[in-house]
C-alpha cells in the first residue's frame, strides 16, 4: 500500500445472501482528494461505503483504510477507526429526540472527557462552518431538508475525521441547498485536510467539486477519471449518464420477452 492512498480496495466481492452486489471492485482514494463514486440506483454504491466503514463484511477481497484491513479488525479496533471517520447519511439521520446542538456535541460527549464549555465552543464553531450557528437550539423536526443535511454534516465532522463519507448528499434538495452542500463538501475537505468519498448519482453537481470519479455499474467499475476526462469520455455508459439519456447501455426496459410475443401469447399465459 502506498502512503498517498488513504483507502485501497482490491478485487472486492460482496453478496446479499445469493444476490451478488459487488463483483471484483478495485479502487484507490488518494489522501486529501474528493472522490465521487457514481452509478445508477441500486448498483452497490451505498454497500461500498458500508464495507469501507466496516458495517458489512466482504465475501472476498480487501479493504484497507489508513493501512488497516477493515474486515479483519475486531470490534474495538473498528470503533477506534470509526472515530476517525465521519459519515453523512442520505437523509441526515439526525437524532430526533435531542436538539441540533446536542446532535453535534454527541460524539464529543461520548468519546472525549472535554469540559462542557470547550464542547460548547467546538459545537458552535462546527455549526458556524455550515452556517447554522443560530439554529443550535432547534430540534431536528424544525429544520428544512437542506438545513438538516448541513447539521448532519457538522455532526459528521465533529471530531475532525481523516475520512468523510457522504451517502447521496444531494438527494431531495432544492437547487440552492444543493449548491451550498456541494461547496461545503469541497471547503470542509480542504479546511480539515481530510479525504472525501462521495456516493451520488448527481453528475452535474459532482463534476464541479470533485477531483476524481469512479463509475459503477452492475457491481463493477466501468469508467474512471478526472471531471474533464469524464466530460470528454466516449464510453457509452458514461455518455448516457452525463447527458442523462433515457436509453443506452442502461436499457429503458426491464428485461422481458418481446412485446408482440407477450401480447399475442397472453391468452395462453392467462390460463394458468
Amino acid at each position: 500500500m502506498s502512503a498517498e492512498n488513504l483507502v485501497e480496495i482490491s478485487s472486492l466481492d460482496f453478496a446479499y445472501e445469493d444476490r451478488p452486489i459487488l463483483d471484483g471492485i478495485s479502487l484507490r482514494i488518494p489522501r486529501g482528494k474528493v472522490v465521487a463514486i457514481m452509478g445508477g440506483s441500486g448498483c452497490g454504491k451505498t454497500t461500498l461505503l458500508r464495507l469501507i466503514g466496516g458495517q458489512l463484511k466482504p465475501s472476498r477481497g480487501e479493504v484497507l483504510v489508513d493501512g488497516q484491513s477493515v474486515p479483519h479488525l475486531d470490534e474495538e479496533e473498528l470503533y477506534a477507526l470509526r472515530r476517525r471517520m465521519g459519515m453523512l447519511f442520505q437523509f441526515g439521520a439526525l437524532f430526533t429526540d435531542i436538539s441540533v446542538f446536542d446532535n453535534v456535541a454527541y460524539q464529543m460527549r461520548e468519546h472525549t472527557d472535554l469540559p462542557e464549555e470547550l464542547i460548547r465552543d467546538m459545537v458552535l464553531m462546527k455549526l458556524n462552518a455550515v452556517g447554522l450557528r443560530g439554529a443550535h437550539g432547534l430540534m431536528p423536526a424544525e429544520l428544512s431538508g437542506g438545513m438538516a443535511r448541513r447539521v448532519a454534516l457538522a455532526r459528521a465532522i465533529a471530531l475532525d475525521p481523516m475520512l468523510i463519507m457522504y451517502d447521496e448528499p444531494f438527494a431531495g434538495l432544492d437547487p440552492i441547498s444543493l449548491g451550498i452542500i456541494g461547496q461545503l463538501i469541497r471547503r470542509l475537505n480542504d479546511a480539515l485536510g481530510a479525504t472525501t468519498i462521495m456516493v451520488t448519482h448527481d453528475i452535474q453537481e459532482s463534476l464541479l467539486i470533485v477531483d476524481y470519479i469512479y463509475f459503477m455499474s452492475d457491481g463493477k467499475v466501468v469508467a474512471l477519471g478526472t471531471p474533464d476526462e469524464i466530460r470528454a469520455s466516449q464510453h457509452p455508459f458514461v455518455h448516457q449518464f452525463v447527458f442523462a439519456e433515457a436509453d443506452g447501455p442502461v436499457p429503458f426496459h426491464y428485461p422481458a420477452v418481446p412485446l408482440a410475443h407477450e401480447l399475442l401469447g397472453s391468452a395462453a399465459h392467462g390460463g394458468r
Partner: protein, 270 residues
C-alpha cells in the same frame, strides 16, 4: 391418478410450509437469544451512566402510572362487588379481603399490569427503536463508534425490567384499596375482619413474593420482546407499524403462557 398426485403435492406443500414456519421461528428465537446476550454484555453502560436508564424508567414506568393506577382501582372495585355478591350467599362476606387480595397479588396484579405495560410502554419502545432504525439513526450511531445496543437498547430494556415489578405492586395495592372502598366503605363489610382475614391468609413468601417474581419475569419478557421487535423491524413505515402490533400480540401471549408455567411451579404444593 392425477388427483392422487395433486393431493400428494398439496400435502407436500403443506408440510413444507409448516417446516418453513418452524425453522423460521427457531431462527428468530436464536436471534432473540443472541440479542439478549448482546444486551447483557452491553449493559455496563446502562448502570455506569445511570441517567440513560433513569430516563427510560421515566418513559416506561412513570408514564404508565396513570393507566396502571386507574385500572387497578377499577379492577379492585369490581372484585369487591363481585366477591361480596358471591361470598355473602355462603355467609362468609368477612373473607372478602382474602379474595380480593389473593386474586390481585397472585394473578391479576402481575398479569394485568404486564398486559397494560406491554401495550402502553412496550409498543412505544418498539416504535421508538424501529423509527430510529428506519431513519438510519442506529446505523449513524454505529458509524460514530457508539454501540447502539449498549446506548439505545440496553437502557430501554433495563428501564422496563425495573419498572415492571413496581407497576405490578402499585396495581395490586390500588386494587386492594379499591376492594376496601367498595367492600368496607360502601357495602359495610366489617373493617377488622377484612384486614385480619386477609393478613391471616396472604402469606408473604408464597403469595406476595411469588407475585413480585412473576412481574419481574414478565418485565424481562415484555421488555425483551419490545426492544427486539423494534431492533428487528423492517426499516419502513409499514415495517415499524407491524412490529408494534407484533410486540403487543407476542407480549400478551408470552405473559399468559409464562403465567401458566410460573403458577404451576409456584403453587404446586399449596
Amino acid at each position: 391418478m392425477a388427483g392422487d398426485s395433486r393431493a400428494t403435492g398439496r400435502i407436500a406443500t403443506m408440510l413444507g410450509s409448516i417446516g418453513h414456519r418452524v425453522t423460521d421461528g427457531l431462527i428468530r428465537l436464536g436471534f432473540a437469544t443472541r440479542f439478549f446476550l448482546m444486551i447483557l454484555l452491553g449493559s455496563g453502560q446502562s448502570f455506569r451512566r445511570l441517567h440513560l436508564t433513569i430516563r427510560e424508567i421515566y418513559f416506561a414506568g412513570f408514564q404508565s402510572l396513570l393507566i396502571i393506577l386507574v385500572s387497578g382501582l377499577f379492577i379492585g372495585m369490581v372484585l369487591g362487588m363481585q366477591g361480596y355478591e358471591t361470598l355473602q350467599r355462603y355467609g362468609s362476606a368477612d373473607a372478602l379481603g382474602v379474595l380480593v387480595a389473593l386474586s390481585l397479588v397472585r394473578e391479576l396484579g402481575p398479569v394485568v399490569a404486564a398486559l397494560l405495560f406491554a401495550s402502553r410502554a412496550g409498543s412505544s419502545i418498539t416504535a421508538e427503536i424501529g423509527l430510529m432504525k428506519a431513519t438510519e439513526q442506529l446505523t449513524a450511531m454505529d458509524m460514530m463508534a457508539v454501540n447502539p445496543i449498549a446506548r439505545v437498547v440496553a437502557p430501554r430494556f433495563w428501564g422496563g425490567v425495573i419498572s415492571m415489578p413496581l407497576l405490578a405492586a402499585l396495581f395490586s395495592a390500588t386494587g386492594i384499596l379499591g376492594g376496601y372502598l367498595i367492600g368496607v366503605v360502601f357495602i359495610g363489610v366489617d373493617e377488622g375482619a377484612f384486614w385480619s382475614q386477609m393478613q391471616a391468609s396472604v402469606d408473604f413468601r408464597y403469595d406476595v413474593w411469588s407475585g413480585i417474581v412473576k412481574s419481574f419475569v414478565f418485565g424481562i419478557a415484555v421488555s425483551l420482546i419490545a426492544v427486539f421487535e423494534g431492533y428487528d423491524a423492517l426499516p419502513t413505515a409499514e415495517g415499524v407499524s407491524s412490529s408494534i402490533k407484533s410486540t403487543v400480540v407476542k407480549s400478551a401471549l408470552a405473559i399468559l403462557a409464562l403465567d401458566f408455567v410460573l403458577t404451576s411451579f409456584m403453587f404446586r404444593e399449596a
